[in-house]
Structures are given as structure tokens and as C-alpha cells.
């Protein structure tokens, strides 16, 4: 009896296998089965409840709460909260917000594009038969796991125009070092360099894993057909890597939009607004200026952008990307 069999399997510890046959026996069995199922439901609920509760309160609720706060001009102290409608969103078109968005675009574009290109180059290098490439792998990845706050402090010292590595480097070029962090033209490049240094290794290791999964036979037959190394790279490697590229694109966009700790260590968003990207702007509006409305509106903008990125990626992945 198939049904009986599965029922026995679901028996909880210590219970006696159902033995009676016939009407009353079957009813007893059905009731026992229902009791077991309810116990399982309850256990499921108990197992997932803490996680769901926390996700609801600290991940989902914040989105709604932000949406509400973005319609107010609350100063984070007053007991009365004024609803002002879309004013905070209208204000985004004037004032400093356009500049903040431009900074964000420059920063994210440079960090994402740069770390992917550098990462791919390093991955191709590490994929060659080289002595010490295992060590190279470790060294390249190390910056990625370290605290951004601490790393930022180290780079402030490196960028010091008088006593930092930067001075020695520019001396080689016969120039004096720019005053990176106090010069509004150089502060953003400095920040981008640090994030490239921190993130390129991650892209490299992810690309490397992709390269090592490549089917050897495809290369062999293409090489037999007389394709050169560059040709092989362009028409086989890159297309086959496209899922990896998409993964990296999305994860790096999401993480660089939220870049914060290195900025806190290096520039505090300055000089002026030179390195104020959206993430820093949100923080300052809320926790320095106590303007919940603009902060929340900015947060909603960030949420929508990143949501669009994720959704676009899923859509695109389904259609375009080369799967094997």
C-alpha cells in the first residue's frame, strides 16, 4: 500500500506504526496524518518566523517608510510630521541634486567599467601557465576583503602630496604630486582609484572562474581552423563569458551605488561637493542636516535605479546572453 508506506515514513519519533486495518483504523490513521501535517506546518512556521519577521521590519518596511517620509518635510525631531506631497521630488531638479547624480554617474561608471576591464585583463593573465599565479590570485583578491574604512585611511597617506607614495610616483614622471584630496579636480579620481584597487580583484577572480569553465574543445577546433589568439578571444571567450559579465555588471553597480566607507575615510564628500555621490548625500541629508524628506526621496531614487538594474538584467539574461 503506497499511501501507508509514505505515512509510515512521516512518523514522528517514538510513535508506533499504524497497524489497525478497516474503517476505524483508517480514520485513526487519517487523523494521525493530519496531526503530523499540522505539526510540520507549525515547525515550518517556527523555523522561518524570526527571519521573516526581521526581513519584514528591516528590509520591506523601510521601503514603505521611506516612501512616506519622502512626502514630508520632517526634521526628525518635531512630533508633528507635515505632508508636503511631491515637493522633495520637485526640488531634485534644482539645487545640488543634479550635481550629486552626475557625480554618482561618473563614479559608478568609472568604477564598474574600470574594474570589469581591469578584472578581465588580470583574469586572462592569471589563466596563463605562470609560476606564482596561485599567489597572484591571493594577492589580487586580498584588497577586496578588507575594511573600506581602514583601506581609505591607508590611501589618504598614499595620496599625501608631501610624504606619500604619490610624491615618489610623480617624481618619477618629473612632476609634483597633485594635492589629491583637497583639490576638487583630483578628489574624485582619487576615490575612483581606491575603489578600482579594491574591486578589480573581485572581478578578476570571478572572470577567472569563468575562464576556467571554458570548453577546451571549442578552442582546439577553432585554432585548427586557423583563428588567431585575438580572434579566439573575441569570438569565443567574450561571448561565452557574457553571463559572468552580466553578473559582475549588476553586482558592481549595486555595490558601487552604496559606496560609503572609503568616502568617509578620505573625503567626507568634499572638497565642496566634489565627491558627494548619492550614498553620501542620503547620509548627510538624514544624519547631518536632519532633513528626512529629501533623504527619503533620495533613497527612493536609489532604490528605483537599482531595482531597474536588477529587473533589466533578469530580462536581458533570459533573452540575450549566451548560455551553454
Amino acid at each position: 500500500m503506497v499511501v501507508r508506506d509514505s505515512a509510515v515514513r512521516d512518523l514522528p519519533a517514538g510513535s508506533v506504526p499504524a497497524r489497525p486495518v478497516g474503517e476505524p483504523g483508517r480514520r485513526v490513521e487519517a487523523r494521525a496524518r493530519r496531526a503530523r501535517r499540522i505539526r510540520e506546518y507549525l515547525l515550518f512556521a517556527a523555523f522561518v518566523a524570526p527571519n521573516f519577521l526581521l526581513l519584514a521590519v528591516f528590509s520591506y518596511w523601510p521601503v514603505l517608510y521611506n516612501a512616506y517620509l519622502s512626502l514630508t518635510d520632517w526634521n526628525m525631531i518635531s512630533p508633528v510630521i507635515n505632508v508636503v506631497g511631491l515637493e522633495n521630488y520637485r526640488d531634485m531638479f534644482t539645487g545640488e541634486f543634479p550635481e550629486v547624480l552626475l557625480n554618482t554617474a561618473i563614479f559608478v561608471g568609472a568604477v564598474v567599467g574600470g574594474s570589469m576591464v581591469l578584472g578581465l585583463a588580470v583574469a586572462v593573465l592569471l589563466n596563463q601557465r605562470l609560476r606564482g599565479r596561485g599567489l597572484g590570485r591571493t594577492m589580487v583578491f586580498a584588497p577586496h576583503v578588507l575594511s573600506g574604512a581602514a583601506i581609505g585611511v591607508v590611501w589618504v597617506f598614499i595620496f599625501d602630496p608631501n610624504y606619500g607614495l604619490s610624491r615618489a610616483f610623480f617624481e618619477l614622471l618629473g612632476r609634483s604630486s597633485p594635492a589629491w584630496l583637497t583639490d576638487s579636480n583630483w578628489a574624485m579620481p582619487a576615490l575612483i582609484i581606491v575603489y578600482l584597487w579594491k574591486n578589480a580583484g573581485f572581478s578578476a577572480i570571478v572572470y577567472l572562474a569563468g575562464l576556467q569553465n571554458m570548453p577546451k574543445d571549442l578552442y582546439e577546433s577553432a585554432a585548427l581552423d586557423g583563428a588567431g589568439a585575438w580572434r579566439l578571444f573575441r569570438s569565443i571567450t567574450l561571448p561565452l563569458l557574457s553571463p559572468v559579465t552580466f553578473f559582475l555588471l549588476v553586482t558592481s553597480i549595486i555595490s558601487s551605488f552604496q559606496a560609503f566607507d572609503v568616502i568617509a575615510a578620505m573625503t567626507d564628500g568634499g572638497p565642496g561637493n566634489a565627491t558627494t555621490i548619492l550614498s553620501w548625500y542620503l547620509y548627510e541629508k538624514a544624519f547631518t542636516d536632519f532633513q528626512a524628506g529629501p533623504a527619503a526621496a533620495g533613497a527612493i531614487v536609489m532604490f528605483l535605479i537599482l531595482l531597474a538594474v536588477t529587473v533589466l538584467q533578469t530580462r536581458y539574461l533570459e533573452r540575450k546572453v549566451h548560455y551553454r
Binding site: S15, F44, L54, A150
Partner: protein, 274 residues
């Protein structure tokens, strides 16, 4: 180009890449051992003329780093335990227990990954202060104790476990908690270690949330304390500042070298298998 020359050139490039990657760390560690006269000079001093360990003592006394360490350890350990426990229990429930609308519920877990942490800062700060948790360990830990990505990874792994083992254990009369402890967890060990180590590193490095929910010296974690030092004194005494930075970086670096395989696997997860 001959093969020899090509290999030589590639090795040279590898060396350059390696130097760029760890050069700043070399600079950090050597500078933490330099006297001021080694630091404030040009041409640069590449190796300290004497090993000036006093920088570490000086840094240690410049701010309550002992306290920061305790805070960081408490927050990291408790935070990781809670997060991993949530991930394990949720993953187990979704794989091995019956419940109506499991699919939809799982989408709810995954959906949480769509909410970037940075977007939640202000509302979570308000929630935490409403709860009276500003300047407390629970204030730092609890909002991050849920697990979406870890749950996802562990669930994927548990789905690959052979059903027979599970059935056999259940047939022997083992309850779910025992099956979880003595069958599923041991079989999920690599994934569990991966999730744990990645969480440890992330919690240790976390900066913005502990910064927002604490406002006294006694509750700061290491990264927050380090940057507080900067806010108070500016970057003046580089030797001591580099020593203080070493306090923050060294534990993670050690973990990374000991458990590199798991760190790399955890952080790059989902990329290739996708």
C-alpha cells in the same frame, strides 16, 4: 615573439599586478613601524630604520581600542551566529518541511535582496531609536540578523542532498531537529563554512550602520572608532594612525589567508553556476 620571451613578459606583468595589489598593504605595515623621522622625509623610506613598535602602544592609548575590539568581536560573533542560524533554519524549512504557498514565501525571502542596505538606513535608524536600541549591541546587531542570500545559498545546497539519507534518518524515528543536526548540517558543511566566513568578514568590516546607531566611545566598533580618531585629531601622526589601521585590518587578513578557499567561494558565489 618567442615563447621564452612571451613567458618572461607575462611573468613581469604578473609581478607588477601583484605589487599594485599588495603595495598599499606593504606601505601600511611598514609605516606602522616607522618613527616620525622615517615618515616625514623625502625621498621615502622603504623599510623602517628602526622598528618603532611604540606606534602600536600610542595608537592603543589614543582611543579606547580595547573597547572597540570587544565591541567588534561581540557584534561580529553574535551577528554571524544569528544570521547563519536564520539561514540554516529557513533553508531547512523550505527544503524538508511541508507548508502551503512555499514558493510564494520563498519569493518573499529572495525579494528582500532587491532592497539595497543603504536605502534602509534612515527608516531603520528611526525604528531602532523607537525601540530604544540606540547605543546598544542589539541595535547594531538585530537589523542585520536576517538572511536572504545565505538562505538562498543553503537552500540550493540542501536541494542537492540525496533524499535517501534524509528518509532513512526519519525512518529511524529521528525528529527534524535531530535530522538537521546530525544529517543535514554535516552534509552541508562546506556551504555552511562559506556562508559563515563571508558573514564574519562582512560584519567585521561593516561601517555605516554601527556608525549611525552608536554615539559614544564605549559602543563604537573598530572601523567606526578608527575614523572617529581621524575626526578628532586629523591625520597627523601617521605612524600611530597606520598602527591603528593595522588593528582593524589584521584579523581579516589572517582569516583570509587561512580560509581563502571559502572566502573566495562565498564572495563569488552565483557568478559562474548562475
Amino acid at each position: 615573439m618567442s615563447a621564452r620571451l612571451r613567458s618572461l613578459a607575462l611573468h613581469a606583468v604578473l609581478v607588477v599586478v601583484g605589487v599594485i595589489a599588495v603595495g598599499p598593504l606593504y606601505w601600511l605595515f611598514t609605516s606602522s613601524l616607522k618613527t616620525n623621522s622615517d615618515i616625514y622625509t623625502f625621498p621615502l623610506v622603504w623599510w623602517p630604520s628602526t622598528l618603532h613598535w611604540e606606534n602600536f602602544a600610542e595608537a592603543w592609548h589614543a582611543a579606547p581600542f580595547g573597547r572597540f575590539y570587544v565591541n567588534s568581536i561581540v557584534v561580529t560573533v553574535v551577528g554571524t551566529v544569528l544570521k547563519v542560524a536564520n539561514a540554516v533554519l529557513t533553508a531547512y524549512a523550505f527544503v524538508f518541511l511541508r507548508f502551503p504557498f512555499k514558493r510564494v514565501l520563498f519569493m518573499v525571502v529572495l525579494g528582500a535582496m532587491m532592497v539595497p542596505g543603504h536605502v534602509t538606513l534612515l527608516p531603520n535608524y528611526l525604528t531602532v531609536s523607537q525601540l530604544g536600541w540606540i547605543n546598544t549591541y542589539q541595535g547594531i546587531i538585530i537589523p542585520g540578523a536576517a538572511s536572504a542570500f545565505g538562505t538562498f545559498l543553503l537552500r540550493q545546497h540542501m536541494l542537492t542532498l540525496p533524499g535517501e539519507v534524509f528518509d532513512a534518518a526519519r525512518m529511524d524515528g529521528a525528529g527534524h531537529l535531530r535530522v538537521l543536526r546530525s544529517v543535514v548540517l554535516p552534509l552541508s558543511r562546506p556551504m555552511l563554512v562559506t556562508v559563515t566566513i563571508v558573514t564574519l568578514v562582512a560584519e567585521w568590516n561593516d561601517y555605516i550602520w554601527p556608525r549611525i546607531v552608536t554615539n559614544t566611545d564605549t559602543m563604537r566598533t573598530l572601523p567606526v572608532g578608527l575614523l572617529m580618531l581621524k575626526a578628532q585629531e586629523g591625520y597627523v601622526n601617521w605612524g600611530a594612525v597606520m598602527a591603528a589601521t593595522t588593528f582593524v585590518v589584521l584579523p581579516v587578513l589572517v582569516v583570509f589567508f587561512l580560509a581563502q578557499r571559502y572566502v573566495v567561494a562565498g564572495l563569488t558565489q552565483g557568478a559562474v553556476k548562475g
